[in-house]
Subunit: 338 residues, 2 copies
């Protein structure tokens, strides 16, 4: 392990079809990148079987740490903390606390992952609340939206902190020095929105930052790609994200329904298959997989529970960028004068 | 006018391509329904020209009320109140206050419409805040979502009031006696969300209502159609609506881009044209046009500024249902015991 610059802890047991999809995703990643060492936490028997299945048995980048239990999606956060100390998720997070790994990634129970990570890895002192950030496709590339649901209660300092955190994240992933940041609101005029938002606008506008402040944008402008980072409270952010996911699903389903409801439609679909494949590839949600939990002393990545191996591969790529870009230290430096 | 049971005030001057799209939409409506009298407020010369253009000059259901000014989209609410007293919007709203009309519909400045309506038509005494409701397509039909942005500040009574108002609206439009109501939240468990939401859940759950209480739903469940009415605060509701609109636009644009980026794609598109037309018809946003402003002593309908004549026709159909279903009296009765 000493020859590797970075080590990632993988909780291999959470989400659908684990650990198979985890190991298959890892294989895709290892085809491109061998710089990182992976400590894989979970049921040793199942993981070994999966390594054989995907022909990864003799790779030197991997080590299995056997864990006897697993936190399930149905477990409440309280239950997870109470009974989860021997689980793959807990052990993986603990290893980051003990500096055996630099980052933890899991497809498991989101609430448990966020709370146990905060408990063990701890916050960067100057940051009050951890942020859950995500990638959002737009006409020109990708934006970052945060908070996506970690914090229901939100204050003025959080808006500024999350603007700074989101900007560092954007800079590391997309190599742009001063990203554009906007606050999500119900109108673009300065007088719109509730008091916390208006005060945050004034506060952010009045000081120098690691970003350019664009002001407010509305929900229908996220797609335009005029801003790189969109900051909102966790309640609105979660509703925006899930409503967008629901809308994509609704349109997909309606389109499929109509193409498959007649023989002519089915023929059209077959003929246009190369076009549909290209569309699917271009707006594939798997490319945007990975909730990024920031503000702690190490990054925590949440892969979607229902994500497949390709989606898990994308979240590993994201993890590698975050590590190699030295994100947590950049965030710490940004806040060191606060 | 005495032979008509209902009268609607139309502000013919707001939005793009008015009054042409208004008059053309009205023509479509009059093909199906001649029960309602329309008082049309705006520039008499332009409206007359439009009536000639669409062959409606000799219809007995119509009267023009000449108004010398117009509230523009760029006018602030304050400016609109100060300078707008002779405008088509103000006069149309005033006519409802004076009981010359039963409902007002406008494609103009939303903020001005809501504030002037509240000022003149006034709230039903037991209701604290007016609601902006809208139609939302789902897999099985249509849901109603409110509040879509009229109220940024929201309290426990508002959640209950809006559940009752939304249910009466749903019952009138879709003829279902006890609709299912849910509160929009970041999770479906009872412990999720902020305090106002949790207290509202308990309050709504503990009493008999004109609806069945489903509990919480998340943004991605709106499309499922398991609930008829979704209640949320105006901030989250506005963000949900606009994010959904932005997502639809994003997917449409990406699909079009790929079909038009190659000769093969263009041929595919031409061949599949009947299918695409069917898709467009099935998920045509114009069918859901019309913000419904409720809680006042008369209904106020906001047609989208960029809506075309067909969309305006749909909002007239909606207006007719609301009037013929006696919605405002039903809401008043529902609140009379409060």
């Amino acid at each position: 392990m000493s020859s590797f610059n970075y080590a990632i802890a993988i909780d291999a047991m959470g989400g659908e079809n684990s650990p198979d999809k985890i190991i298959e995703g890892l294989k895709l990643f290892l085809h491109e990148d061998r710089d990182i060492f992976f400590n894989i936490y979970g049921d040793e028997v199942l993981i070994k079987k999966s390594l054989v299945k995907f022909n990864l048995k003799f790779i030197e980048n991997l080590k299995i740490i056997n864990c006897t239990t697993q936190i399930k999606d149905k477990n409440s956060v309280r239950e997870s903390i109470k009974i989860g100390k021997d689980s793959s998720m807990w052990k993986a997070i603990e290893s980051v606390k003990e500096k055996k790994n630099d980052l933890i990634i899991s497809s498991g129970n989101t609430g448990a992952l966020l709370v146990i990570s905060k408990l063990l890895i701890k916050m960067i002192p100057q940051i009050d609340k951890p942020a859950l950030a995500g990638l959002w496709p737009n006409f020109h590339g990708t934006s970052i939206v945060l908070d996506l649901g970690a914090n229901i209660e939100f204050n003025e300092k959080n808006y500024l902190d999350f603007s700074k955190i989101g900007s560092e994240l954007y800079s590391v992933i997309f190599e742009k020095k001063k990203p554009n940041v906007a606050l999500l609101n119900v109108g673009s005029e300065e007088i719109k929105g509730h008091d916390e938002l208006k005060n945050s606008f004034a506060k952010i506008n009045s000081q120098l930052n690691n970003f350019n402040f664009h002001g407010y944008i509305e929900g229908n402008q996220i797609k335009d790609g005029i801003v790189d980072v969109i900051v909102t409270d966790g309640f609105s952010g979660n509703i925006a994200l899930k409503t967008a996911e629901g809308t994509v699903n609704f349109i997909n389903t309606e389109i499929k329904k109509i193409f498959s409801s007649s023989i002519f439609g089915k023929l059209c679909y077959l003929l246009c298959l190369p076009i549909f494949k290209k569309i699917k590839k271009n707006i594939d949600p798997r490319k945007y997989n990975g909730g990024i939990f920031l503000g702690l002393n190490a990054p925590v990545i949440k892969s979607h529970g229902s994500a497949d191996s390709l989606a898990f591969y994308y979240s590993l790529k994201l993890s590698a960028k975050i590590l190699k870009g030295n994100l947590v230290n950049k965030i710490k430096n940004n806040f060191s004068n606060d």
